[in-house]
């Protein structure tokens, strides 16, 4: 059984890795973001704040399965769980010991906190939601490392040169700190295994609640000698000192115990849920304030904890949910194209990092403080790192929640991310009268025009054509701070209504300034004007 579980787990993990590396240009897989959709915690936000109900479907299916099969997801499917299993193999882990302190209540606390703040309009799930947490880990840490390694291999083996992981070498601004946070999660396994899944994971808490009446029951035959090996070895600490019992809210059906038992006394059978009759008494105890959670007798989550979590969520929401533009007047916060209005964007974005993984130029980077605490790790375009490619539509295609709305290549000239600004005190033409026109030559939208000022043709930005893609800033020869920079003013942050097109929202006039003054005579005679 354990071998079978391992094979399935590994195959699903390989699928995850395959899809991860497939999340790149050109887009040809319709299921790229399916792992994000498995998680009900990810679906709750687009459902609450967006208008899209279809995101609920896959995760609702997972929940229904959980009702019958308990926390199978944690043991068999979850990429975070598999990553922790692999990580614990590499860094070492400890068996359960007698009298170890347990922290199972924290995951319920986090779940209640997340749901409470979500109900009040703040998205906090991304911090703890395992699907996006692990995907970010792969994007920020594993992807750049794998890319460097692959490029090294390519220098050794010519046959590998046809396949590349990314177009340009990639890196992410918080890759290194994020790696250490994730390493910390794995190292918690030295206290006891799968510490994250047992005690911290709010998705695990949700599955605990729904999986309480799982029909897969552990059976111990009379051959049991009471050696206690299963209790020590259980990844999830789901087997109490009384070896015959097991905690259905902790068991992830990894079947390690079946394999570990020296006398093969353990088996799993489909049976009537054992807790069926204890729900009402448990609930009553919980509501009365006794040390019992509604789902999990052993976790120690109390009514007091519940109220604390609700209060904590409410206070956090009150502190963080404010008029973003007033508190963080950050002109350099450039959002991906077709991003929802800022507040809605922060609510809907689950920070999975798929847009940053797929961004062709590595220009989409996670926010650290630029968008405030409420926008932590949301994507932002850093033009110095990479610009928004004219013919790319990947972030919109891939976003699993619609925080970045779908758009087509033809919409690109109509979706403004911001507006380019020329700094005349550093621009080579304005300052030194050089014959530079790099911004003009790279501009995909013909948004630079030239006007004669004091005997010299000098560049101007056509605000009607400029979409703020940042290519000019990226390519400007003035370093390190480019002489033309994109600022978020004039960005289009609207939710597209059905039937509406970007061309309707932002029509480009037939004649703009750049048509009037389009080509400058260079220092030689320019015959075409």
């Amino acid at each position: 059984m354990k071998t079978r579980r391992r094979i399935v787990q590994l195959l699903i993990f390989l699928l995850f890795i395959f899809i991860f590396f497939k999340t790149t240009y050109p887009y040809d897989e319709r299921f790229v973001n399916v792992f994000m959709r498995f998680s009900p915690l990810n679906s709750v936000f687009p459902a609450m704040f967006g208008s899209v109900g279809k995101y609920l479907l896959i995760s609702a299916g997972v929940l229904v399965l959980t009702i019958f099969l308990g926390r199978f997801f944690c043991g068999w499917v979850c990429p975070m769980g598999t990553t922790i299993d692999i990580g614990e193999k590499l860094t070492g882990s400890s068996d359960n010991k007698k009298g170890q302190k347990k922290f199972g209540w924290i995951r319920y606390f986090l779940l209640v906190f997340i749901l409470a703040s979500a109900a009040l309009g703040l998205n906090t799930a991304f911090m703890f939601e395992p699907m996006s947490l692990s995907y970010r880990f792969y994007t920020f840490c594993i992807f750049p490392a794998a890319d460097i390694f692959w490029r090294f291999l390519q220098t050794r083996f010519d046959s590998l040169s046809s396949v590349s992981l990314s177009q340009i070498p990639v890196s992410y601004v918080i890759g290194v700190p994020y790696f250490f946070v994730f390493l910390g999660i794995i190292l918690l396994g030295r206290y006891y295994r799968r510490f994250w899944c047992r005690d911290l994971c709010p998705l695990g808490a949700l599955f605990s609640i729904f999986g309480r009446f799982s029909v897969l029951q552990k059976k111990v035959s009379d051959a049991c000698t009471g050696c206690g090996k299963c209790t020590r070895k259980c990844k999830m600490g789901a087997i109490p000192e009384d070896y015959r019992d097991f905690s259905v809210t902790d068991c992830i059906y990894c079947f390690d115990c079946v394999k570990e038992c020296p006398v093969k006394a353990i088996s799993f059978k489909v049976d009537k849920p054992k807790d069926l009759n204890s729900l009402i008494p448990d609930m009553t105890k919980f509501i009365k304030g006794k040390k019992h959670s509604p789902a999990d007798v052993s976790s120690g989550f109390t009514r007091r904890n519940f109220l604390e979590a609700v209060g904590f969520g409410a206070v956090t929401t009150m502190v963080l949910k404010r008029d973003h533009q007033k508190i963080h007047p950050n002109q350099r916060l450039i959002r991906p194209p077709a991003a929802l209005p800022e507040e809605q964007f922060n609510q809907t974005c689950i920070r999975c990092g798929e847009c940053m993984k797929t961004c062709l130029t590595n220009g989409l980077q996670p926010c650290v403080t630029e968008a405030g605490v409420e926008g932590f790790m949301t994507p932002r375009l850093i033009p110095a790192a990479g610009y928004c490619e004219e013919k790319c539509e990947m972030c919109g295609e891939i976003c699993p929640t619609g925080a970045i709305q779908k758009f087509g290549v033809a919409d690109k000239p109509h979706i403004k991310l911001g507006l380019a600004n020329i700094n005349r005190s550093t621009c080579l033409v304005w300052l030194r009268e050089e014959d530079c026109m790099v911004c003009d030559e790279h501009c995909s939208y013909r948004a630079i025009y030239w006007k004669e000022v004091q005997g010299k043709f000098r560049p101007y930005v056509d605000n009607e054509r400029c979409v703020g893609c940042g290519m000019c800033e990226n390519k400007c020869p003035v370093k390190p701070e480019a002489a033309i920079t994109v600022q978020s003013q004039g960005e289009h942050r609207v939710k597209l209504q059905p039937g509406q097109t970007w061309a309707q929202i932002n029509p480009i006039p037939e004649q703009t300034k750049s048509d009037k003054f389009h080509d400058r005579p260079s220092n030689s005679d320019m015959p075409y004007k």
């Binding site: 240009y25 020869p477 005679d525 320019m526 015959p527």
Partner: protein
């Protein structure tokens, strides 16, 4: 895609190629070659120009006029072709070299016995899109020629520019600098900064730091670079020329249906500039290159041979 090839096109192209080669051989190439050789011996650079027929046949004609590909590509030579594939634009938008020109040159090189043909380009737009939209990616897949996006420093080596006036050293693509035969295949178009974008300007796609040129002075840097980057053959594609919003466009495109070829990079630039309506010696980098003795930019001193 409109520029995708089908069997019929292929057959027509193959037939045209065969016929034109046969036709030129029938005409007895020796007279033409003698003309070219006498002109070159007299110190007069030669630019061959074709303006009739299909793109493929024009390329074959101009190369043959200069003595045929075997003059440039010896048996077993390593050939590097450097087209202009800077932008994610269609062939119809004339911002990149016409893929048919590149394809014909590849087949000519292979026929001449090249041991390897490869194409290098440090594109301005994302190379995935640039190579796809320009149609040259497809040509390379079809002819199994490696198309290398030289956007990483591992392709580059530092070279000093002894004759450079302001450019003293430059990181250039090693494979191009050390190729047995380097064929420069620019497209003829206007350029906001350098006036025209032709053969010398095309070298900017083979160096690592283009920004330096703009900071130091574009025209002189282009001329300086041309002192060390010496193509064995230049073929300029004027099948379509971009007249406005160069170098990227989209702008006004004129179908000139012309192909130039020369061993003199300045002379071919002068012809291209003339075609675009510029007075060649008033384009700074052409004048500078002429003064530095890289080639002849004064069309009065160039023998332009029509095919």
């Amino acid at each position: 895609m409109s520029d995708g090839i089908n069997r019929r096109d292929l057959l027509i192209k193959a037939a045209a190629l065969g016929l034109s080669v046969a036709g030129i051989e029938l005409l007895s190439n020796t007279d033409l070659l003698r003309m070219v050789e006498t002109a070159e011996a007299a110190g007069k650079p030669v630019v061959a120009v074709a303006s009739k027929g299909s793109v493929t046949s024009m390329v074959v004609k101009v190369v043959d006029k200069l003595g045929g590909m075997s003059r440039f590509v010896k048996k077993g030579a390593k050939v590097v072709i450097k087209p202009n594939i800077g932008w994610a634009r269609n062939p119809e938008q004339a911002a990149n070299t016409n893929p048919q020109v590149v394809e014909t040159l590849i087949s000519l090189c292979k026929k001449a016995g090249a041991s390897s043909v490869s194409i290098y380009e440090f594109a301005c737009d994302s190379s995935v899109m640039t190579f796809r939209d320009s149609g040259i990616g497809e040509v390379c897949t079809r002819t199994s020629v490696p198309l290398i996006s030289a956007h990483e420093s591992k392709y580059y080596t530092k070279y000093s520019v002894p004759r450079g006036k302001i450019l003293k050293q430059v990181d250039a693509v090693k494979a191009i600098m050390e190729a047995d035969c380097f064929i420069n295949v620019p497209v003829v178009k206007v350029h906001g900064g350098s006036g025209v974008s032709l053969a010398m300007k095309n070298h900017m796609g083979s160096i690592l730091d283009r920004g330096e040129f703009h900071r130091k002075g574009l025209h002189q840097c282009i001329a300086d670079l041309a002192t060390i980057m010496r193509p064995h053959l230049n073929v300029a594609d004027a099948s379509r020329v971009l007249l406005t919003h160069g170098p990227k466009g989209p702008g006004q495109v004129r179908k000139d249906n012309k192909i130039f070829a020369s061993t003199d990079i300045v002379a071919i630039d002068a012809c291209g500039a003339k075609l675009l309506g510029f007075e060649p010696m008033r384009v700074d980098h052409i004048r500078m290159a002429t003064e530095m003795g890289i080639g002849q930019g004064d069309l009065a001193k160039v023998s332009v041979i029509e095919v």
